[in-house]
């Protein structure tokens, strides 16, 4: 099995681009899901944002390795712990020919905070924006936020004039009378590609913006995107040469792709961590045969569970060697990752049995595992394997695998965290460990909007204190030390059962070179058609 990293691809792309002549070059690709809207504020979801990132841009951009680089802002500096100054890029034009100015930034930030927007979280990271002149703004944050720019690549900038002209000053929403919003089916960004046509769930065609402000490696003049839901159909379309790229590709098909002529699997570790959580909040589990107490409140039981799981077997057999077993909820690509804590809990069924006996469950107990079956790479199969591994130490797990809509409807806050034991995956939107801590690890607190995805309510006041301090610490070294301390506590508590970082799995024709970004994003800027 050949692993090719995105880095090589990117280097090759840059090298090739310099010599390619300009002519019509079409890049065709398929993804399992679809582009539900063209409105950049309509949905905070990675595929939509990744795709629209080729049409719209934020003040900062991701480079091929997901590092932050200047985008529509040329430079920025911190004035006080809560204020930032941004110098905006001059001479940038929207696709419609309008000039990009400070007003557009302020308008877009406001739009992201209006009703119908799903980008309110990003809007709320900024308290106010003041225009200094047409190309200088000052942003104020509600609290010191050393990683503000991490959240800027996906806060897309729209043109104020265009939006006002077409009456789309707030985001497209399914509710209310905001449907049929102009921006839902039309786009006017500053990015390297323009929307030529878009039929939801059928086909979208994009063409190169010849007036793009930056030199980029791509030589593609037209991009055609088709959603293909069934994995075998997707893979067939690639092998038959109809498409230049498809993703995701089932991990078991890598060998087949590598053996087929003219195509290959492009893989790498994704920044998404897959893990299993325990309900440690309730006094009695909702779905278990143990009544009157909650076995997961006992650290020994949680430890027994993690030691019963053979992560290497899951990696080898289910993920075909492609996953990275992990001991931490943050991936290596995430700022604040701690190498020393990342080694998984050891696989030791004997120890597991001993721990269960010590905790008073020598014959194990029964519990239901909630699992999605169409959200993460081989999610249901991982759950099945966990079920069978736990059976070997005496724990009888009932597996309830459901489509993601049913699954999330059950386990999330909307249904009152209706689960005892669940599998979840997480990529921090800001690519920073603070997001992991405040979403998954701090105690649930609905008012402060903290720990909303800590479905099992793991709760340790010390971690909460540290997380609060991390949120406003601007000294990177101190901040990272605190992050490491918090993760160490979670690990010793066995707050979660980390499984692995799932692999990125793309199928690419030899005709093209692409850059595979760690958040599974396809940036057309680095797509090069080889001749």
């Amino acid at each position: 099995m050949k692993l090719r990293t995105g880095l090589f691809a990117a280097v090759a792309a840059v090298a090739l681009a310099a010599t390619s002549p300009v002519q019509a070059k079409t890049f065709k690709f398929a993804f399992q899901g679809d582009l539900s809207s063209l409105d950049p504020h309509s949905l905070n979801e990675s595929f939509l944002l990744g795709t629209l990132g080729n049409v719209y841009e934020g003040l900062a951009l991701y480079d091929p390795n997901m590092q932050i680089v200047p985008g529509l802002a040329e430079s920025w500096k911190i004035l006080t712990p809560t204020t930032w100054e941004f110098k905006l890029r001059k001479g940038v034009k929207f696709h419609g020919g309008q000039d990009f100015t400070a007003d557009d930034v302020i308008f877009s930030w406001e739009r992201a905070g209006r009703d119908g927007s799903d980008q309110k979280v990003r809007n709320s990271m900024i308290k106010s924006i003041t225009k200094v002149d047409d190309h200088t703004i000052v942003m104020e944050t509600p609290a010191p936020n050393p990683i503000l720019v991490q959240d800027l690549p996906y806060l897309f900038i729209m043109d104020k004039e265009w939006s006002e002209e077409h009456g789309t000053t707030s985001s497209t929403s399914a509710a209310g009378d905001n449907a049929g919003n102009y921006a839902n089916l039309h786009a006017n960004g500053t990015g390297p590609f323009k929307i030529k046509s878009h039929e939801a769930d059928i086909k979208s065609v994009l063409v190169r913006n010849e007036n793009y402000w930056k030199d980029i490696p791509t030589n593609v003049s037209e991009v055609i995107f088709t959603p293909i839901k069934e994995a075998p159909t997707r893979v067939a379309a690639l092998i038959s040469g109809e498409l230049d790229m498809v993703y995701p590709v089932p991990v078991q098909d890598w060998e087949r792709l590598d053996n087929a002529k003219g195509v290959k699997a492009l893989t790498g570790p994704e920044a998404r961590t897959i893990f299993i959580g325990f309900d440690q909040g309730r006094d009695e589990l909702l779905y278990s045969n143990i009544k009157g107490k909650n076995p997961f409140k006992d650290q020994r039981v949680r430890a027994a569970f993690v030691h019963a799981i053979n992560l290497d077997a899951i990696k080898e057999k289910i993920m075909r060697g492609a996953a990275t077993p992990t001991g931490l909820l943050a991936a290596p690509q995430v700022n604040g990752f701690v190498e020393s804590l990342n080694s998984p809990y050891a696989y030791d069924p004997e120890k597991s049995k001993a721990l269960l006996a010590e905790a008073g469950y020598p014959d194990g107990f029964e519990v239901t595992l909630d699992c999605p079956n169409n959200r993460y790479v081989n999610d249901e199969k991982i759950c099945q394997a966990v079920t069978s591994m736990l059976a070997k130490v005496g724990v009888k797990v009932d597996l309830l695998a459901q489509p993601k809509s049913k699954y999330f409807g059950k386990v999330l806050a909307t249904s009152g965290y209706d689960t005892s034991f669940y599998l979840l995956g997480w990529t921090p939107g800001s690519m920073d460990a603070e997001n992991v801590l405040s979403s998954l690890i701090v105690c649930q607190n609905a008012d402060a909007k903290k720990g909303m995805f800590n479905l099992g309510n793991y709760c340790n006041p010390k971690v909460d204190e540290l997380t609060a301090a991390i949120g406003s610490e601007t000294d990177q070294a101190k901040r990272n030390a605190m992050i490491a301390e918090a993760f160490k506590i979670v690990k010793d508590d066995v707050g979660y059962m980390p499984i692995h970082q799932q692999p990125l799995s793309w199928g690419v024709s030899d005709r093209v070179t692409v850059n595979q970004r760690a958040d599974n994003g396809l940036d057309y800027r680095y797509v090069v058609i080889n001749e």
């Binding site: 089932p250 098909d253 057999k317 249901e380 099945q384 591994m389 059950k410």
Partner: protein, 311 residues
């Protein structure tokens, strides 16, 4: 299915002395398909005893045995004659257990359709008038919706109404109901037709005159006469039910993968069609096709043999 009514039995006994039996013995296709069908049913019933390992017992399967090719290939393992799937379950064993589930779903949904269909058909034909018109109108509406859509609807409702922790346990009953409810119309129409004919025959009129209760008349005199065509429909319906179950599994509303049916196995194996692990799809696929084909051939022969006009 012989236990449905005592009348069936006598009817079947009559078969053996008749030229139906003779025609059966003369048709090699019928004999072979009967042997295959019965063989598969027996294998499914006795799966717990003949399967080399129990794929539903999670403590006994090991993921380290996953994706092993059939035993005759160099990487194969003698414990797993037909190889293993991704979870390390022996394919032979999953097929035996899977066929069991497919046949259970098939048989019970056919019985369900049959009971509902015969009952409504008899009532409709015997009572006539408004009752008849109402039942037949419902049948029309029902007939206009393809079975697969009805099954999708029923399954969707069931999954919504019932608490989700029950799903794994009851999914098989939901499937039986969903497939069964979509098939009763054919039985009802056939039975109604025969009932209309029989009702007006003199012996039935006579029985009515001497005051025999309608229920008794239906059971003694009319039912035995409609069992022939009903058996033909039932056989073909069994094949359709098994296929429908497989299709529902493909659409993601079948039985859970921890207790897979043949359809679920094909669905799982589908994901391995492009990778080299052909045995995960091919063996369950062949089993399904052979089973359905045998049942269909049997039904075909039965229709020709029981249709007096064609004899």
């Amino acid at each position: 299915m012989e236990q449905v009514t005592p009348a069936t039995k006598t009817r079947l006994q009559r078969f053996f002395g008749s030229d139906v039996w003779y025609s059966f013995m003369r048709s090699p296709v019928a004999i072979i398909s009967a042997i295959v069908t019965i063989g598969m049913i027996l294998a499914a019933i006795f799966a717990p005893w003949i399967a080399p390992n129990n794929p539903f017992d999670l403590a006994s399967i090991s993921i380290m045995d996953g994706n092993l090719p059939p035993a005759w290939e160099s990487a194969g393992d003698s414990r797993f004659l037909l190889g293993t799937d991704d979870q390390g379950r022996g394919v032979l064993s999953t097929i035996l257990y899977g066929a069991r589930i497919s046949l259970i779903v098939g048989f019970f949904s056919v019985i369900f359709s049959m009971v509902v269909g015969i009952a409504l058909g008899l009532i409709s034909g015997y009572a006539g008038g408004r009752t008849d018109a109402l039942i037949m109108r419902i049948a029309d509406i029902q007939l206009s919706f393809p079975a697969i859509l009805i099954a999708l609807l029923v399954d969707g409702v069931a999954r919504g109404v019932l608490p989700s922790e029950l799903h794994t346990d009851i999914s098989i009953y939901v499937l039986i109901f969903a497939i069964g409810i979509s098939g009763w119309v054919q039985y009802a129409r056939t039975v109604r037709g025969s009932t209309l004919v029989e009702k007006n025959k003199e012996y039935v009129q006579a029985a009515r005159v001497i005051g025999i209760r309608p229920l008794t008349i239906l059971r003694r005199h009319i039912l035995p006469n409609v069992m022939g065509p009903v058996m033909v429909i039932a056989t073909i319906h069994l094949a359709i039910a098994i296929i429908t179950e497989a299709t529902l599994s493909f659409l993601g509303v079948g039985v859970p993968p921890t207790t897979p049916s043949l359809g679920t196995l094909i669905r799982i194996g589908n994901e391995y069609l492009f990778s080299g692990d052909w045995w995960i799809t091919i063996f369950p696929g062949i089993t399904l096709v052979v089973l359905v084909l045998a049942v269909n051939l049997l039904g075909d022969w039965m229709r020709d043999a029981l249709n007096p006009k064609l004899r």
